[in-house]
């Protein structure tokens, strides 16, 4: 009897289908991607059961970090420039086009107006290293040294439809939050959103 030799086969796999799937997924992720914007400070918000989503556009974010420093940012780059122009006009300052451009690229910032010009003249890498001192606020919300009120006012002047979101760090102290609150109240802003993480409501809880 002749010995049957098994036919040698090269183990080749057809990769086409896998490639198709990979690029399909890639297309999906590219289209749905929303990149994490560069935040001025690390803020870790507490969680709540509230399921309302934060709007993507027309939003003003006031961030409050662990040490109680306040950061401010609005969403649209054109509005950022308009806001800076308004603030510059109100404070009698002027910014060059280069500084305006740098300002438009910042998602949020936390420097007093007096230091803003020198902060903007730094290049990107240096700016990341600078420890931002936070925007000055006070407990009454209407004092002259309170700069948050100027930013809020001029941001609303640049875009009237802005909604206000406060993003506080879990461990920031209440008095710091109160300062932000009274600044907004002094401007007759009585409705705002608190950005929180999402947690599951207790079992059996229904929203009605």
């Amino acid at each position: 009897m002749p010995i049957i030799k098994p036919k040698r086969q090269v183990p080749a796999m057809d990769m086409t289908a896998m490639c198709d799937v990979a690029f399909l997924l890639l297309t999906f992720f590219i289209l749905t991607a929303q990149f994490r914007s560069q935040e001025a400070a690390a803020v870790d918000p507490p969680s709540s059961i509230s399921g309302i989503k934060v709007p993507d556009k027309d939003i003003m974010t006031i961030a409050l970090d662990k040490e109680g420093k306040v950061y401010f940012g609005i969403d649209n780059q054109n509005n950022r420039i308009a806001m800076l122009d308004n603030v510059a006009a109100a404070k009698g300052l002027s910014f060059t086009d280069k500084e305006k451009k740098a300002f438009a690229l910042m998602a949020s910032f936390g420097v007093p107006i007096s230091q803003l010009k020198s902060f903007l003249s730094l290049d990107n890498e240096q700016r990341m290293k600078v420890k931002q001192p936070g925007i000055p606020v006070d407990s009454t919300g209407a004092a002259a040294e309170n700069e948050l009120k100027d930013w809020v006012f001029n941001a609303r002047k640049a875009n009237n439809g802005l909604r206000i979101a406060i993003k506080g760090d879990s461990y920031s102290k209440f008095p710091n939050f109160k300062n932000v609150l009274s600044t907004l109240q002094a401007q007759n802003i009585n409705k705002f959103n608190l950005i929180t993480g999402t947690e599951a409501p207790p079992a059996g809880w229904t929203n009605d």
Partner: protein, 178 residues
């Protein structure tokens, strides 16, 4: 299949013509797949995974003096947010009545206390006053506001000033020096 059959077809056969060597047009897809998955990994990691949610907070207008009917002190539960994530609450008024100060932690105990107290008040007259002290953190405040949503307490207020009576009460009964 990515293979394209190049053999056969039209073409004259035989006749001593020099035929070009048959070459397979099969393309090796492995590097392309590698690249695809690499990019997928990048996009997964670079996107924000969970979108944060937000809770709405409405505060009373400071400029307008709204006409409101006075609230009976017996239907008010006052929640003080103390330090180290402790919560002190009283049911009733701090002045004169000398109410019992109960200290609980956040979470189940507080929720149960709110629910128990709300049952003592008939109808929808139950009011919660939230008073964070200067020792409280932002998380404590959000937690209690969240507790209002969980217990479906419709009437609550966030007040940041403590009366002298309340300060004294907290100092005497909760050892909280403010």
């Amino acid at each position: 299949m990515s293979e394209i059959d190049t053999g056969g077809g039209g073409g004259k056969k035989g006749g001593g013509k020099v035929r070009s060597k048959k070459a397979s047009t099969r393309v090796d897809m492995t590097p392309m797949v590698d690249l695809g998955f690499l990019l997928i990994t990048f996009f997964i990691l670079a996107t924000t995974l969970s979108k944060p949610s937000s809770m709405t907070l409405n505060v009373p207008d400071k400029t307008k003096e709204a006409e409101t009917e006075p609230i009976k002190a017996s239907s008010v539960m006052t929640i003080f947010l103390g330090k180290d994530n402790k919560v002190h609450y009283i049911f009733g008024k701090a002045a004169n009545e000398d109410p019992e100060v109960v200290t609980v932690g956040h979470g189940y105990d507080l929720r149960k206390a709110i629910q128990d107290n709300s049952r003592k008040v008939p109808g929808d007259k139950f009011v919660v006053v939230i008073k964070p002290t200067k020792e409280a953190t932002y998380k404590n405040t959000v937690d209690v506001l969240d507790e209002m949503a969980i217990t479906k307490t419709k009437r609550y207020a966030l007040v940041d000033e403590l009366t002298p009576d309340e300060k004294k009460l907290l100092k005497d009964k909760a050892q909280l020096d403010l």
